[in-house]
Structures are given as structure tokens and as C-alpha cells.
């Protein structure tokens, strides 16, 4: 089970509290986790990744295990602790503005 933590705005949109728990078949990557997240919560389509290019939106960051994984390939395996559910996959709204 994959644990995803969303920022407040997206929790509200997705009508969820706390973590979103996902079952991901196959290799656990950014792409497979986000695909599963969007399948569970369709309202999140376009909020994390561009709907045409699939690219991460510029002010969205992905953290896990005290690492910034935002710039990793979306098809790289996520850390084993994320895949096992020991650690959450954190979606972060980057600090921007004043």
C-alpha cells in the first residue's frame, strides 16, 4: 500500500482527510503512483501534471524519505520505504510568492 500526503488545497478538492492509501500494481514509480492517485481522485487530473505533456507542474514538488524526488525521472523506482508503505510520498506546493 502506498501512502500519499496531499497539500491542503488538494485534500479539499479530493474530499479526503489525512493520507490517501493506494494499491499500485507493478513497479512503484512517480508515474504509477500519480496514475493511481488520479484514478482514485479524478479531480486531481491537471493539478499535479500538465494534462497534455504529463510534466510535473512547476510549483509542485514530490518528497519522500527526506529526499526531493521532483527532478527524478517519473519512471524511476521510488524508494523501497515508499513502496512498502513505511514512508509516505509527499506532494508539496512549493513555497512561492510572498
Amino acid at each position: 500500500m502506498i501512502r500519499v500526503v496531499l497539500p491542503a488545497h488538494l485534500r479539499l478538492l479530493a474530499k479526503t482527510e489525512g493520507e490517501v492509501n493506494l494499491d499500485v500494481a507493478g513497479l512503484v514509480t512517480q508515474r504509477s503512483v500519480l496514475d493511481a492517485l488520479e484514478a482514485r481522485c479524478p479531480v486531481l487530473r491537471g493539478t499535479l501534471r500538465d494534462q497534455v505533456t504529463g510534466q510535473r507542474r512547476p510549483f509542485v514538488r514530490f518528497f519522500a524519505c527526506e529526499l526531493d524526488l521532483s527532478h527524478e525521472s517519473p519512471d524511476d523506482p521510488l524508494p523501497g520505504a515508499v513502496a512498502s508503505g513505511a514512508e509516505p510520498f509527499l506532494v508539496i506546493g512549493a513555497i512561492a510568492g510572498g
Binding site: 497539500p7 488545497h9 488538494l10 478538492l13 479531480v43 487530473r45 491537471g46 493539478t47 499535479l48 500538465d50 494534462q51 497534455v52 507542474r57 510549483f59 509542485v60 506546493g93 512549493a94 512561492a96 510568492g97
Partner: protein
């Protein structure tokens, strides 16, 4: 019993202000979508309980929200805006070609007759249409494809399609405006378009009389006379009596003809309201006095309306989408400011009072007259 519902989009959420026909006491609803920019929300003329809202922010992009109960509850609908075919390029600020890239929805214009049909004006400039109540969106790409698209350049606020007017007597005729490309018209429901900028003179472009490139801020019409259009341009207040084919300046005695917002009286097609703003570099009222100007002659001769508006130390702006009228008798006029005030006049502008003073910066104001 009649009443009004004022739909206010702000930098940090949407607000729904309601009153009875007297328009003296107001209920303030919201914020809806707290923390999000609401560029625009508007109700369907065919079903006043059907509302559409554009919700966005820099982090998480664009959503479209729909209400079927007058704004009490909302549900997200489709937010996939994909340009038709290979998007091509427009001009960027540096004069270089730049691929079209969707950024946000500036304006939502519900059909006059079908609550499930709605148009969306977006940045980078394009017009989309949904016929399924916002679930899916299709570009009316004849606008970008009519020939001048590659020469369009963004205004300071982006290359935005911000104004959509559907002709109430001919729904196949639609007017749109783009900053800073100009005004355009279709007579065949969006398949083909032509620029309608003859008579506009803009000193900020190399050819002041060019076919496109004008920074049109707003166009307004009276529904009983859709061939007569009024325009607030970057500088200049303009009028057309032939559906935009030709324009003439009607700035007259305005203290400045720069501005953004504009509205036409709901019962008097020759009565027009504007809010003069000092200049393109100083986006606040001249002399710190917030004044709406009214012309009863279709432009040319203007009178300041000041009663109830701050007449000293006022340095707010009134953005292009932030003025609207109701259709009660007497006509109500409403506008919102970047300082968070929403002012209302229940006597066609003679006197004003704030409905609310301390909202986030107001981006848009729309009014529904309820029966």
C-alpha cells in the same frame, strides 16, 4: 419577489452576495474555493441556478466548478483545455515566436438559451466551448486559425481572451476581445472569424492603425441593440454602430480615457458607465478620487458619479471584468476594486454604497436578477 445575486471572483476565493429588490441589505456568502484565484464566475441566463466558475492558482492549475443550486454547492467538471491540432506560435514579449500554451480561463460565458452550453475564454488566447455543462471542452480554432494569430502579442496581463459577447438576436454572432490582439467577430457560430478593429488607434504598436495588435480591455453591448458596441481600450473609449466594422472615439470629456471596466445600463441603451483610471503606468483613479463616469448620450459627454464613493486617498483599480448591471427598475450598477470593496448603486449610479469592504482583490463581478 425579485432579488439580485452578485457573483464576485477574487484573488482568494468566490463570494455570492444576495439581496432583495430593494438592494439595501445584503447577505455575504463565501468564500467558496478559499485561497484560489477565481477569475470569473457567471450564471446561465436560461437557468439562474446554473453557475460556472473558473478556479485556478499558480501551483495546481485550472479547475472549472459548476453549481446547480445558485452557488450553495459546487462540483468540479472538466478542466482539460487542449488546443485544436498543432497549436503553432504567437509573438512573445520579446517579439519571438512562442508556442501556444494553456494557462488559465479568464472568462466563462454561458449560452443565452441552453444551461449546458458555455464558452470559455482562455490564456493563451483561444475560445473553447462546452455543450455538456462543462464536462468536456472543444476549441473553436477558427479564431486562432483565421490568419493573424501568429502576430498576436500578450498584454501585460498575458495573452488573454477576456471578453465574450453572444448576440441575443443571432446566437451565431459572437464577439470576443483579446489583449493585446483586439476584437474579433464570428457570424457562423465560431467557425470563421474576422478582426473588427478598424478605427482603433494605438500608439503602442508600430502601425497605430493595424488590423490587429490593439489592447482592447472590454467590450459591452445592450441586449436590445447588439449591433451597437462600446469599447474600453487600453487608451480610448470607443463606439461602433455597425457590429464592430468601424469604431469611433467617444472619450469626450473623460478626465482620462484609460481604464478597464465598462457596462451599459440595462434599460437605456445609450447610457454607458466607465471607471477612468489615471494611466497605463498608474493603475488607480485620477487625483485619488474613485469616480464612475456615466454618459447618457452613448459616449462623448460624460458626468462623474461620486456620491458614496471615496473622494480622497483612493488608489484602487477596477479590473475589466469587475463591473456589471442588474435589470431591476431602477437599474443597479455594481463594481469591485482591487482593494476588496464591492460598491452598488440601486439608482443607476446616482448614489453608491459598499456592499462589502474588505474582500480580497476583486477580479470579476457579475449580477443575476432573480424573479
Amino acid at each position: 419577489m425579485s432579488g439580485v445575486r452578485v457573483l464576485v471572483g477574487t484573488r482568494k476565493g468566490a463570494f455570492v452576495l444576495t439581496s432583495d429588490g430593494q438592494r439595501k441589505h445584503w447577505d455575504i456568502g463565501g468564500p467558496h474555493f478559499a485561497g484560489w484565484e477565481i477569475y470569473h464566475l457567471k450564471g446561465s441566463p436560461a437557468d439562474p441556478n446554473r453557475l460556472y466558475a473558473s478556479q485556478s492558482n499558480a501551483w495546481f492549475g485550472q479547475l472549472i466548478q459548476r453549481s446547480s443550486d445558485g452557488g450553495a454547492t459546487w462540483e468540479p467538471v472538466g478542466n482539460k483545455f487542449v488546443y485544436d491540432g498543432v497549436p503553432g506560435t504567437h509573438q512573445h514579449y520579446d517579439g519571438k515566436p512562442r508556442p501556444w500554451e494553456f494557462k488559465r480561463v479568464w472568462h466563462l460565458e454561458p449560452s443565452l438559451t441552453d444551461p449546458d452550453t458555455v464558452y470559455a475564454g482562455v490564456e493563451d488566447a483561444a475560445l473553447f466551448r462546452s455543450a455538456d455543462a462543462g464536462q468536456t471542452w472543444q476549441e473553436l480554432s477558427g479564431l486562432r486559425g483565421h490568419g493573424t494569430g501568429p502576430s498576436w502579442q500578450p498584454g501585460a496581463g498575458g495573452l488573454c481572451l477576456h471578453t465574450i459577447l453572444v448576440d441575443p438576436q443571432d446566437p451565431d454572432r459572437i464577439y470576443i476581445a483579446i489583449s493585446a490582439a483586439g476584437a474579433f467577430r464570428t457570424d457562423d457560430a465560431g467557425h470563421t472569424w474576422k478582426p473588427i478593429n478598424r478605427g482603433l488607434v494605438s500608439q503602442h504598436i508600430p502601425d497605430p492603425n493595424a488590423e490587429v495588435g490593439h489592447c482592447v480591455h472590454r467590450i459591452a453591448m445592450h441586449p436590445s441593440r447588439p449591433g451597437v458596441l462600446f469599447m474600453q481600450k487600453h487608451w480610448d473609449v470607443m463606439r461602433s454602430d455597425d457590429s464592430g466594422d468601424c469604431w469611433r472615439e467617444v472619450s469626450g470629456n473623460l478626465p482620462t480615457d484609460f481604464g478597464f471596466a465598462m457596462a451599459v445600463h440595462s434599460h437605456q441603451p445609450e447610457t454607458v458607465f466607465v471607471v477612468p483610471i489615471k494611466s497605463d503606468s498608474e493603475h488607480f483613479p485620477p487625483d485619488g478620487k474613485l469616480r464612475v463616469y456615466r454618459s447618457r448620450a452613448g459616449g462623448g459627454e460624460w458626468e462623474p458619479l461620486t456620491q458614496g464613493l471615496p473622494q480622497s486617498n483612493c488608489y484602487v483599480n477596477v479590473l475589466r471584468g469587475a463591473m456589471a448591471v442588474d435589470s431591476l427598475d431602477a437599474c443597479g450598477v455594481y463594481f469591485g476594486t482591487t482593494g476588496g470593496q464591492v460598491y452598488a448603486s440601486a439608482d443607476a449610479g446616482d448614489t453608491w454604497a459598499p456592499i462589502v469592504r474588505d474582500l480580497p482583490a476583486v477580479l470579476s463581478v457579475e449580477v443575476q436578477t432573480l424573479s
